[in-house]
């Protein structure tokens, strides 16, 4: 590793005797790179570390100074325990179903001759990228107990009331959440299944082990770490999604941790309790992610092999059509149903069984040209996403560069700090930012600035990871050869490093842009009427009962995301969605 590190000090020392001019240049060079690096470190502290410190402090500040009263209330109050229970139940069921669906589809795609594999892969990618709160809204349009289209159809037209389904329930919540989380298992499991060297299985086979025995005693143990890791990611992401839990859970009286924290901000806001509950929440997600990292670390032996042949595909015979039917069902439920519903609603005058008799563009006209709140929301979100993605990627590039190319003490710590937000549910991030910035003399609360801080803070891990991955592709000797020719740090960066990592950084930029444009969990606590965002506007319109315009606004949201993803595929060759699946920040 040592050889890979640019020894800035050494080079400077070698150059110092060559004359006054270079000594002067060295001084200015050192100053500039130190300012940039120092700036990145300070940003990270302000964005992530200090808000967490204030969150902790806020949770411990009682009526009379330091106390654990908030924690004892959170751990004993009936409402809080119910929320905790519901979150865990939701996470457990979602994890289980994600495991079953994700693993089955992954096995089908990587080990069998099931037809339409591209469709299955696309289903997983689109499900992962679809904003979960929009899927939730779409399902309410279909399955709300009284007015849901399919419920009305079954009850009033077909006359089979037992075929109706109440989406406002834990079952409904699990259904909607699983659609977003099964891709975590799918992506990790399919890549693990594909990387298991065929010779491991062949070796068992020639010793007399049947196909089933080989699968159980060789393949399963080898891919188990990846599968369990995907399941834990599904769990962590499931419990952190504010949008679907508010839209589906609250009407069904299924209150969870994010929605309970949200309720604590009703007037008068209970900052201390919210902070304590947030910390309990963080402990759960961090514990789960810690176990997940440990699993993933053990996974190393799957990728160790690699010279041997690829596993042979299993011929399923007629069973392949059963498996295909299952994949098709997942595709219809997670993609076709929600998307076509939103499209249909957005063009209807009034949503109902005969919506197709009165199609209209009025909803789009309303949200795009008439209603200034939605206009403002679209512009705010676009602007915030562009700025947040740019800052996150630039910060990420500097932090990644410090970690890989310098020997600054504590650089590993910096890397860990930049990963913290992966364990922070969006709403917890919001509570932490509120605690921090309310204590500061700057009036940021309710401005676009605090939203920007939240977004950059939440998605900084994506920026760091992208920059890190790109920088690893650039051999340090490329930078060193510029330096030996006399280029300063700034020149080397501008002429060599940045151009080389630019495609990776652009991919990272889109990787941040997509979740920011649909961010709801943190925004819901931080927005004001002037700083309203797209996702918040959708949520508020929905809550106020603007059924049809909500769908139109949702479509606008989808179109923006669609363009970004299309760009990502054009630029990054399709790897972005898969990378997002492993690195994605949580709801």
């Amino acid at each position: 590793m040592d050889a890979q590190v640019t020894r800035a000090g050494d080079t400077a020392a070698l150059r110092a005797p060559t004359g006054f001019r270079s000594a002067q240049r060295r001084a200015s060079r050192v100053r500039l790179e130190h300012i940039i690096m120092g700036g990145a470190v300070v940003s990270l502290i302000v964005l992530v570390v200090l808000p967490l410190v204030f969150l902790l402090a806020g949770s411990l500040r009682g009526e009379q100074g330091l106390s654990l009263e908030h924690f004892s209330e959170v751990m004993s109050g009936r409402l809080y325990i119910a929320a905790l229970q519901n979150s865990l139940i939701l996470g457990a069921w979602t994890g289980l179903f994600s495991l079953v669906i994700g693993l089955l589809l992954a096995w089908a795609v990587s080990r069998t001759d099931v037809p339409a594999k591209p469709l299955i892969r696309m289903t997983a990618t689109l499900s992962y990228l679809s904003p979960p709160f929009l899927t939730a809204i779409a399902f309410v349009y279909l399955f709300s107990p009284n007015a849901g289209l399919i419920n009305v159809l079954m009850r009033d037209i077909v006359g089979l009331p037992w075929l109706t389904f109440n989406i406002f329930s834990m079952t409904g919540l699990v259904l909607v959440t699983v659609m977003h989380t099964f891709p975590f298992v799918f992506l990790l499991a399919s890549s693990a299944l594909q990387s298991v060297d065929a010779s491991y299985e062949e070796a068992a086979q020639i010793l007399g082990a049947s196909k089933l025995r080989t699968a159980m005693s060789i393949t399963m143990p080898l891919v188990a770490p990846a599968v369990l890791s995907g399941t834990l990611l599904a769990f962590v992401n499931a419990i952190a999604l504010f949008g679907s839990q508010a839209i589906i859970g609250l009407p069904g009286r299924v209150v969870t941790l994010p929605t309970r924290i949200y309720a604590l901000f009703d007037y008068p806001p209970e900052y201390g309790l919210a902070s304590a509950l947030s910390l309990v929440f963080v402990i759960i997600t961090v514990a789960a992610l810690y176990v997940q990292r440990a699993f993933l670390a053990r996974r190393s032996y799957v990728t160790l092999a690699g010279k041997g042949a690829r596993p042979q595909l299993m011929a399923l015979g007629p069973m392949r059509w059963v498996l295909f039917g299952f994949a098709l069902l997942v595709f219809v439920i997670s993609i076709v149903a929600p998307y076509s519903t939103l499209v249909a609603v957005s063009f209807s005058k009034s949503w109902g069984l005969d919506f197709w008799k009165n199609l209209t563009l009025a909803n789009y006209r309303f949200i795009l040209f008439e209603y200034n709140v939605t206009q403002r929301a679209i512009l705010n979100s676009l602007m915030l996403a562009i700025v947040a993605a740019s800052i996150a990627v630039l910060l990420g590039a500097v932090i990644g560069w410090i970690e890989l190319r310098t020997r600054v003490p504590g650089r590993k710590l910096l890397d860990y700090a930049s990963l913290i937000p992966l364990g922070l549910p969006g709403i917890v991030m919001a509570v932490a930012l509120i605690q921090f910035w309310l204590a500061m003399p700057l009036a940021l609360y309710g401005t676009l600035a605090i939203l920007l801080l939240a977004y950059v803070g939440r998605y900084i891990p994506l920026g760091v990871r992208s920059a890190n991955a790109s920088l690893r592709q650039v051999d340090p000797s490329l930078e060193e050869s510029a330096q030996i020719l006399g280029a300063s740090w700034t020149t080397t960066m501008r002429e060599v490093t940045l151009p080389l990592i630019r495609p990776g950084l652009f991919a990272g930029w889109l990787l941040v842009f997509v979740p920011v444009i649909q961010e709801l969990s943190a925004s819901i606590l931080l927005f004001s009427s002037s700083s309203i965002t797209l996702a918040v506007a959708v949520f508020n319109l929905y809550e106020t009962g603007y059924t049809e315009p909500v769908a139109a606004l949702a479509m606008v949201n989808m179109v923006i995301i669609g363009i970004a993803i299309w760009l990502a595929y054009r630029v990054g060759g399709g790897g972005i969605a898969a990378r997002g699946g492993r690195e994605g920040a949580i709801g």
């Binding site: 060297d197 010779s199 491991y200 062949e202 070796a203 068992a204 086979q205 020639i206 010793l207 007399g208 082990a209 049947s210 025995r213 005693s217 060789i218 143990p221 080898l222 032996y301 160790l304 092999a305 010279k307 041997g308 042979q312």
Partner: protein
Amino acid sequence: MAGISIKRLSKHFGSRDTDVAAVSDLDLDIKDNQFVTLLGPSGCGKTTTLRLIAGYIVPDAGTIHVDDRLVSAPGQVVPPDARGMGMVFQNYAVWPHKTVFENVVFGLKIRKIPAAEARRKVEETLALVNLSGLEQRYPNELSGGQQQRVALARSLVVEPDILLLDEPLSNLDAKLRERMRTELKVLQRRTGITFVYVTHDQAEALALSDMVAVIHGGRLQQYGTPADVYSRPANRVVADFMGLVNLVPGTVVAARNGVGTVEAAALRLDVPVPDGAVAGEAIEVAIRPENIRLTPANGQRQATATISDRTFLGNVSEYYATLASGQVLRVQTHPLQLFAVGDAVAVEIDAAQCSVFRRSPSDPVLLSSVDGAPQ
């Protein structure tokens, strides 16, 4: 114990557009208790042949019998788990999630051997491969050579009649490879198991085998003892693959009863010639570098050459000797025999050790042949 009989075996890979014949029309008779090597360059079809024997692949045509039992035919294949063979993979395929003991005992568990007996057998086999005491280690705590021996023990413990080995030594360093080579040979003699061994290393094949099957382009080129394939190569491909060789173009001067006189690059040699060779036919003479003797030129009726390059290799000295015709010969001599570049030398060739092949204009120039000046 068991012999293997392969008849007219063929296997193609790929779609209609990119159809590649991995093995074509291969006949091979492997006797019980033999150490047989499938030798050839990478991509020649030797691994495919091995995997066909193991039953991982279904042949397009032909049959494989083990003793008198048909195990492979198109659309009719006994699966690998029902063949009772053993296999050692190129990357060892030692399961990383199992300890050494768990790896080795796996096959015994499948055979439902009682635990105590299984434990005894595992210990015996590990002792056989010099791994005693490492039972509880995980593969990542072992060196490459140790992993290789775990793979070997795992295959041997179930006492297969046939052991298939796919380049098992190719991932080891030179010293270790040498040692494992000896151990494998001893092991085969001791156990009497039929070994089918795939390698691209001709030295390994010569050192280990009772019989060598040289495969090239999916076809069997020659099947014989190591001495046979080395000194009596069936064609220029085998001659070229089995070590260094000078391929010198020439013509037949006279031929009778399989012996003839040929003229090649101003050399006249009395050598064995192919059946039916007639005077005037274009041929190639394959001369191994160690079968050429150089002596100081003394003006007698000898072929002479000039030393154009010299390399000291330790156990031999290698010379490039340019004949009057311009033909360059690669010669290996005793290291103490020293000539300088530019020296005139007399060239003597042990004609009985040469091989003669028919030459057609389309024959490609082989890599190791010496056609021009040294590089």
